[in-house]
């Protein structure tokens, strides 16, 4: 579903956020991107959502080389993607239902179809009774769930989330993650960037560890993944990730 091939990202200020990232995420997986603040987690998600473009290397999403997507094609590409943000990015002067409906309105669905799907999405995040409220009348956790409802309402195959639990206390954070897991269970590929190691430790999910713009490890080792990668690139990164926990002296 997602493939990064020796991806570099240097921002306009000269800061190299990604320094040769190679990774593979299969369809139907649930993967956490972890690492310290500044490691490059958000940059990876931005490259997936075409918010940024790589300086070098290739990014493949859903068998499509993103380098071939022109600016005109970006809206259509994004409409097939679900994105969740740490700060929710809800429109404050529109109701919860209107916020969730946005991707469907853009897609041009009929009002009846929109109402039906919005209710279903709100039901999935457990906020069916809050549809008429404004986002600021909800708690942070509820706002995040609205953000998730909006991300899944158009039934994307891929859901990406940047620090979706960043502002939440551990209990609420776990609820949110379990919500993502439920979407993953029905076949949605989920990629979550999070520096919250304790939270992820609770879960038996694949984890890609980043440090200084490189993949420094993977846990637990993903056998099929590692084998597939080793076949195509005999890179050091793949070798070290196949070894399990991030080794102390990962070569840079």
């Amino acid at each position: 579903m997602i493939r990064f091939d020796q991806v570099h990202k240097r921002y306009a200020n000269g800061r190299e956020a990604l320094a040769g990232v190679t990774l593979n995420i299969a369809s139907g997986e649930m993967v956490f991107l972890t690492g310290h603040s500044g490691a490059g987690k958000s940059s990876i998600l931005k490259l997936i959502a075409l918010i940024e473009r790589p300086t070098r290397g290739q990014v493949w999403v859903d068998t499509q080389n993103t380098a071939t997507i022109r600016p005109r094609g970006i809206p259509e590409f994004r409409s097939r993607l679900g994105v969740v943000f740490q700060d929710h990015k809800l429109i404050v002067d529109r109701s919860v239902a209107e916020n969730v409906a946005l991707p469907l309105i853009i897609a041009g669905l009929s009002q009846r179809e929109i109402d039906k799907r919005v209710r279903a999405a709100l039901d999935q995040v457990g906020l069916l009774d809050k549809d008429k409220l404004r986002p600021l009348e909800l708690s942070t956790g509820e706002q995040q769930r609205i953000g998730i409802a909006r991300a899944v309402v158009a039934k994307p195959k891929l859901l990406i989330a940047d620090e979706p639990t960043g502002n939440l206390d551990p209990e609420l954070a776990l609820e949110i993650i379990q919500l993502f897991k439920r979407f993953n269970d029905v076949g949605v590929t989920v990629v979550i960037a999070s520096h919250d190691v304790h939270l992820i430790d609770h879960l038996n999910a694949r984890r890609i560890v980043l440090g200084e713009g490189r993949v420094t490890g993977e846990a637990p080792p993903h056998a099929a993944q590692a084998a597939a990668q080793a076949a195509s690139h005999a890179s050091l990164h793949t070798a070290s990730s196949a070894a399990g926990r991030p080794p102390a002296g990962t070569p840079r």
Binding site: I51, P75, Q111
Partner: protein
């Protein structure tokens, strides 16, 4: 997208944009008033011009040609010439003033009776007052008629004073150009005012536009509500301009009618007619739409999520 869903969506966006304008009544009223005032100026000039046209139509009908017959020609010859003129398609009527009658009239009305008796010959020629038909009553038609009549044997001179008509017409023509230039400049101003308003609106809603783009909105989709705002501004401003001019016409019409009565005219000041009103509304909507389209296209393109 089904046709029904498409129209429903547009209708919703249209109403949504109106709702947004209503929710900031002061700012919206300011913009609409600026458009209204800007458009009312050329409209006032136009009303003046239209009324000047109507008023001068009557003057135009008033011009006659004076044809002086050679003094050697007889009275019979004069009436023959008059008959020939009456047969012309561009002549409405011909009045004959014979030299003898003219002198008698002059003698009795001027009080120079004794002095005139001293003259051996009647100094006055036979005269024909030729009134052209309405369609020939133009500066060109008058000139053509004049040269045609001058060709006729025994016609001494033909006098046609159309200079004032020509001057009036060229004045009205200049005024018409002034109206067009003013309308063009102020129309441009309207587009810019609306464009600037939309620009500020877009900057205020930057986050919202970013979010829409993040969930897959095209620039055209994000632009749509702003175009509808522009349409509403244009409609409001156009109605305001028409209202301002109607009020002005109403305020002036009594004194104009009174003035006209003093000159023995039944002239009434006319307001904006339906066609012009419709054109003003459509023009106003179009200009605002153009302004908002330009601003929205430019500024929405510049907003990219980060």
């Amino acid at each position: 997208m089904s046709v029904e869903a498409y129209f429903t969506r547009h209708a919703q966006t249209l109403l949504g944009s109106l709702g947004r304008l209503v929710s900031t009544p002061f700012a919206s009223a300011m913009t609409i008033t600026v458009i209204g005032i800007a458009l009312s100026l050329p409209l006032y000039l136009n009303v003046f011009l239209q009324n000047a046209r109507i008023a001068t139509e009557n003057w135009n009908q008033a011009f006659d040609l004076s044809v002086y017959i050679d003094k050697k020609a007889s009275a019979t010859r004069t009436s023959l010439i008059a008959q020939q003129f009456r047969a012309r398609s561009d002549v409405a009527s011909v009045r004959v003033i014979l030299a003898a009658a003219a002198l008698a009239e002059f003698r009795s009305s001027s009080g120079f009776g004794a002095a005139l008796d001293a003259l051996r010959d009647n100094p006055l020629p036979d005269t024909l007052i030729v009134t052209p038909t309405l369609s020939a009553s133009t500066p060109e038609g008058g000139a053509a008629l004049k040269s045609a009549l001058a060709q006729v044997p025994d016609v001494e001179t033909v006098a046609l004073d159309t200079d004032w008509v020509k001057r009036l017409y060229s004045l009205l023509d200049i005024l018409r150009r002034v109206v067009l230039i003013t309308a063009g400049l102020l129309g441009l101003g309207v587009a810019l005012v609306v464009g600037n308003t939309i620009r500020l609106d877009i900057l205020n809603r930057r986050m919202e536009i970013e979010v829409m783009k993040l969930v897959g909105a095209t620039d055209a989709f994000a632009r749509r509500p702003f175009l509808y705002s522009g349409v509403w501004y244009g409609l409001g401003g156009g109605l305001m301009a028409l209202g301002l001019v109607e009020v002005g016409v109403l305020a002036l019409s009594n004194s104009v009618t009174r003035l006209a009565t003093l000159y023995g005219s039944s002239f009434h000041l006319a307001g904006v007619n339906f066609g012009t009103g419709l054109a003003v509304l459509m023009g106003s909507v179009f200009l605002s739409w153009l302004g908002s389209w330009t601003a929205a296209t430019h500024h929405i393109k510049a907003i990219e999520p980060s």
